[in-house]
């Protein structure tokens, strides 16, 4: 496996690194410590710069007008784009544009016209409604939201939990049980417009996370036309599952980016701060913390890039992406914790980014499938059929 960067990758990575340091980080001095967006003028200006760089809409497939960035390069860019205060959940404040819901690329022609293309043009905002109050790690069993066919419509009743962006979305994907007897083969994915009668955003679910807050949804006799079924009836679980393995790689990479920045700040501060007549950098206790950080970062980096490389080559990468998710989220959490410790009292203030990273990084061991579930995926691969 050759993980050395090509000249093109070096060029793009360097370009994005400079963009983050010269454009994004200075703007954060004037933003709220927990901000997740830029003032409109700044956003427009920087999105224009990104477009000039040819990198706008990074996650949009090239056949739909995206810049055709392979997943290894995308992983490297995710590491760069998260190296600022809001970077974990709002990398570069989304000035690189988003692809919206990846599942929408499976839409039929009519659905593409009504939903996918407006989403890609940024005209329609979206949400992803999978997790329920009954759980999210095991959606095949946890989904209790019911959809019952009634003529040309489906009538949906139920609730969703921890759904980001639903309060501002124009439409979203809602997974509902359409055949209670079939487990994972009885779940269907619906495209639901948020102005549909019976669609309710009941509250914000306040969490450790500053950006992309979660909401709780309720569906009360919500009628959704059959034409809004995404994919096949009872084929929703595959649609939900398809996203998660690939999603874990940039999810891991974003954590690594924050860890890299935390380590950079820790090394810089240890070289300046003096206690008892000597610099922190000369203290073995501090040196070892910095070295442990480096070990954590490099392990996470190589495992994540290895997973991305497998995905790029079209090989099975489910186990690899699970490992990347485990290692990157746990290692980056330790790095942020040590960097905070090195900064002492200042480390826990809102003057510096550590406290936000510390809070938001904790969620990463739970989001996109808890690390215990990731370990189960790896164990299943190691033990084979004997564990099934």
């Amino acid at each position: 496996m050759d993980l050395s960067l090509t000249d093109e990758q070096k060029l793009i990575v360097d370009q994005v690194r400079r963009f983050v340091r010269e454009e994004i980080v200075p703007l954060e001095d004037g933003l709220d410590p927990d901000a997740d967006s830029l003032p409109p003028d700044d956003h427009e200006r920087l999105a224009g710069r990104v477009a000039e760089m040819g990198l706008y809409g990074l996650d949009i497939p090239p056949e739909f007008g995206g810049p055709d960035v392979d997943i290894v390069t995308r992983t490297l860019l995710a590491i760069e784009m998260s190296q600022h205060r809001a970077g974990l959940y709002a990398p570069c404040y989304n000035v690189f544009g988003g692809a919206g819901l990846a599942q929408m690329f499976e839409a039929n022609d009519d659905q593409k016209q009504r939903f996918l293309f407006p989403m890609l043009r940024g005209e329609k905002k979206t949400f992803f409604g999978l997790t329920e109050p009954s759980g999210g790690s095991d959606p095949a069993r946890a989904i209790q939201t019911r959809a019952v066919r009634d003529g040309d419509d489906w009538v949906i009743n139920g609730a969703k939990m921890f759904i980001s962006g639903a309060d501002r979305a124009d439409f979203g994907l809602v997974f509902a049980r359409t055949d209670p007897s079939k487990g994972r083969a009885g779940v269907t994915c619906f495209i639901v417009e948020t102005d549909t009668p019976g669609f309710h955003v009941r509250r914000i679910v306040h969490t450790l996370r500053a950006a992309r807050y979660a909401t709780e949804l309720q569906f009360a006799d919500m009628r959704v036309p059959h034409a809004n079924v995404l994919g096949e009836v009872n084929g929703g679980f595959a649609i939900a599952n398809d996203r998660v393995s690939r999603q874990r790689i940039p999810y891991a990479a974003t954590c690594i980016g924050v860890a890299v920045k935390a380590q950079e700040l820790a090394v810089e501060y240890a070289g300046i701060r003096e206690t008892f007549g000597d610099k922190l950098a000369h203290r073995q206790g501090i040196q070892w913390m910095v070295v442990e950080n480096e070990i954590d970062i490099r392990q996470a980096l190589w495992i994540t890039l290895a997973a991305a490389d497998k995905a790029r080559r079209g090989e099975p990468f489910r186990t690899d992406s699970a490992l990347a998710k485990i290692v990157a989220t746990e290692a980056s959490g330790r790095v942020v914790d040590r960097a905070m410790q090195i900064h002492g009292g200042y480390g826990v203030t809102k003057d510096l980014p550590f406290e936000r990273w510390y809070r938001e990084m904790r969620i990463r061991r739970i989001g996109e499938g808890p690390n215990e579930v990731q370990r189960h995926i790896v164990a299943r691969d190691l033990f084979g059929s004997s564990l099934r």
């Binding site: 709220d32 927990d34 967006s37 309060d167 955003v201 009941r202 509250r203 306040h206 500053a210 807050y213």
Partner: protein, 111 residues
């Protein structure tokens, strides 16, 4: 945690302000002890937290107002939620909040 902030209103005067903590949170203002006129958040850019911001309100608006608050370490999302709830209940933002506070605000339909 209740979606709505429904604590009793308190008179906004120097005695009340001096007893407040310097923590982060959200607060509401009223001119009659019943109608919400403004919803604001107090984040880490405030010098003295809730005490500082309500002291500033008192200095700028004078006595005769009422307030209620919630200490909350996530003032931004809690403020967004209260603004959305107010708009859902009343069809508009509080009268003393500037229109730009409504830009990009989501929709809630709380029970």
């Amino acid at each position: 945690m209740a979606v709505r902030l429904d604590k009793p209103w308190r008179r906004l005067d120097s005695a009340a302000v001096s007893g407040l903590s310097g923590q982060l949170g959200v607060y509401q203002l009223s001119d009659d002890g019943a109608t919400v006129r403004a919803i604001h958040r107090v984040d880490a850019r405030s010098l003295f937290g809730l005490r500082g911001e309500l002291g500033r309100e008192l200095a700028e608006r004078g006595e005769g107002l009422f307030f209620r608050l919630e200490v909350n370490h996530q003032p931004r999302t809690r403020w967004l939620e209260l603004m959305m709830v107010h708009r859902a209940d009343h069809g508009c933002l509080p009268a003393w909040n500037p229109p730009e506070d409504g830009e990009g605000l989501g929709r809630l339909s709380p029970a």
